[in-house]
């Protein structure tokens, strides 16, 4: 070989090298650019990483917010759940209340029906009471007229017999006739008292404030006019009453007359009339020192036709006290009596204290 071939080979190798070098330089340049690109991209990546970091922090923050919200929602749900329970309770209570209302409405309807029925009952009762009153009125009218007529005849003919034929009668005949007359008189008194008793049931009360001392004085004067008696009557200061004047007069007349009658056999008949306030009522009392009565029969005192003494001892119809009781009961008061046989009696009657406002 020669040097030319070696130089050509070296030249070739140098050209190859030079080519390689320029390729390497290109490559290096490329690499440089690629590096720059890489560096740029790295920078971008870093930006992006930074952004991602921020975004992450943002996300993390939002996640925290979401958790807060989730926690709040949880509480809110619990609250809702609780309120739902409350609502259900309330709904249940309302249901019960409705049932209760429905039940009460049924009761109201029942009551309304009962009221209607009882109103009808009251109306019917009123009608019956009216009928009874009419019956009673025609009954007492009958008593008033029909019974009195033959009674008048008995009296009349007995007396005419006595007037026209009294001289032809011996003592026994006269006695028999006297019995007829006496019984007729008694029957008259009974009829009068019975009528009075039945009338009282129908009369209404005309109540007013009464000066009881004045009333008793009036009664005492009237009694003195019709019956001579030697009773010493002590009239204490009496409390005023709110009652029917005429009916009270009747009561006092009866009780005082009784006191006089049943003490008439005593040497010194004493009668005391007084009053006192007791338990919201005013109690009037008439005391006598007369023959008294057996307390075992006190419950019979005020019955109609009930007497605790024989007609021979003391005459009477047995209606007087029944009338007194009726009057006092009509005034919402009470009547009662105490007694010691042989020593006397006290008759009491009470009236509600209406004088106190």
């Amino acid at each position: 070989m020669d040097d030319k071939e070696k130089s050509a080979e070296l030249l070739m190798a140098n050209k190859k090298l030079a080519l390689l070098n320029s390729q390497n330089e290109k490559r290096t340049a490329q690499l440089l650019i690629a590096n720059k690109e890489l560096a740029f991209q790295n920078k971008e990546k870093e930006k992006r990483a930074a952004e991602l970091l921020i975004a992450n922090e943002e996300l993390a923050f939002q996640n925290k917010e979401k958790e807060k919200r989730a926690a709040e929602l949880l509480i809110a749900n619990k609250e809702l759940a609780f309120q739902n329970k409350e609502k259900e309770k309330r709904a249940a209570e309302l249901l019960i209340a409705n049932k209760e209302l429905a039940f009460q409405n049924k009761e109201k309807e029942k009551r309304a029906v009962e009221l209607f029925d009882s109103h009808k009952e009251v109306d019917e009762l009123e009608i019956r009471v009216k009928e009874r009153t009419v019956d009673l009125e025609s009954f007492s009218y009958s008593v008033s007229h029909d019974l009195r007529s033959p009674l008048r005849a008995i009296n009349g003919y007995a007396n005419m017999l006595e007037e026209d034929y009294g001289n032809s009668l011996d003592d026994e005949g006269k006695r028999l006739l006297a019995e007829v007359k006496g019984s007729a008189k008694k029957m008259g008194a009974l009829i009068d008292d019975l009528l009075e008793f039945s009338r009282l049931g129908r009369k209404g009360l005309a109540k007013s404030r009464l000066d009881m001392n004045k009333l008793v004085d009036t009664v005492l004067i009237e009694i003195k006019k019709s019956t001579a008696h030697k009773a010493e009557i002590t009239l204490r200061k009496l409390l005023p009453a709110v009652a029917d004047y005429n009916l009270m007069q009747h009561v006092i007349t009866n009780l005082v007359s009784n006191a006089i009658k049943y003490s008439s056999k005593k040497e010194k008949p004493l009668i005391e009339i007084k009053s006192e306030r007791k338990n919201g009522a005013i109690v009037y009392s008439i005391r006598d020192n007369g023959v008294g009565f057996d307390m075992r029969y006190a419950h019979k005192l005020f019955g109609v036709f009930q007497r605790l003494h024989s007609d021979e001892e003391f005459s009477g119809t047995g209606v007087g006290l029944a009338i007194v009781q009726r009057i006092i009961h009509n005034h919402d008061g009470k009547v009662w009596a105490e007694s010691k046989e042989g020593q006397g009696s006290i008759f009491y009657f009470s009236l509600p204290d209406l004088t106190v406002k």
């Binding site: 008033s144 008048r152 009296n155 008259g188």
Partner: protein, 153 residues
């Protein structure tokens, strides 16, 4: 009966009461010129000259009429109405003499024009006294009504 002046017209269906009334009037000599009729219908016939009293001189009017209220068929109230409504009889004093003490009867009697209302007592003495008083009052003390004859052409 037709010519003598009638003093008392007693309209009473109860014969026993009538006997008592007449006896009382007799005791005080006032039972003369007394006519007793036993029911309302007959009393009206008598007063107005109808029926069995057709032709009676009806200007012979009683001085007083004693009128019972409770009579069958034509009762005292109806008789009273007729008496007090008719010109010829309305002046005659009518004394209701009845056993009824009912206020309704008393009210009605006076409303119809009764001049007096007496309840027949049950006691004999009282009955006698009341009737005697009635007779004395209406026949002797009271001035009876005057009937002035107006001649109608």
């Amino acid at each position: 009966m037709e010519n003598k002046k009638i003093e008392i017209l007693l309209i009473e269906d109860n014969l026993k009461d009538a006997e008592l009334t007449i006896r009382a009037l007799r005791k005080s000599n006032m039972n003369n010129h007394l006519i007793h009729l036993k029911n309302g219908a007959e009393a009206l016939e008598f007063l107005f000259g109808t029926g069995k009293y057709e032709g009676r001189n009806i200007s012979n009017k009683p001085t007083v009429i004693l009128l019972d209220l409770k009579m069958p068929k034509v009762d005292g109230f109806e008789v009273m109405i007729q008496i007090k409504v008719n010109e010829s009889t309305k002046s005659i004093p009518v004394v209701v003499l009845t056993s009824s003490k009912e206020s309704s009867d008393i009210e009605r009697a006076y409303l119809l024009g009764a001049n007096s209302y007496i309840v027949k007592p049950v006691e004999f003495d009282e009955y006698m006294n009341v009737v005697t008083d009635l007779g004395l009052y209406w026949l002797l003390k009271n001035q009876p009504p005057v009937y002035i004859n107006k001649q109608k052409p």
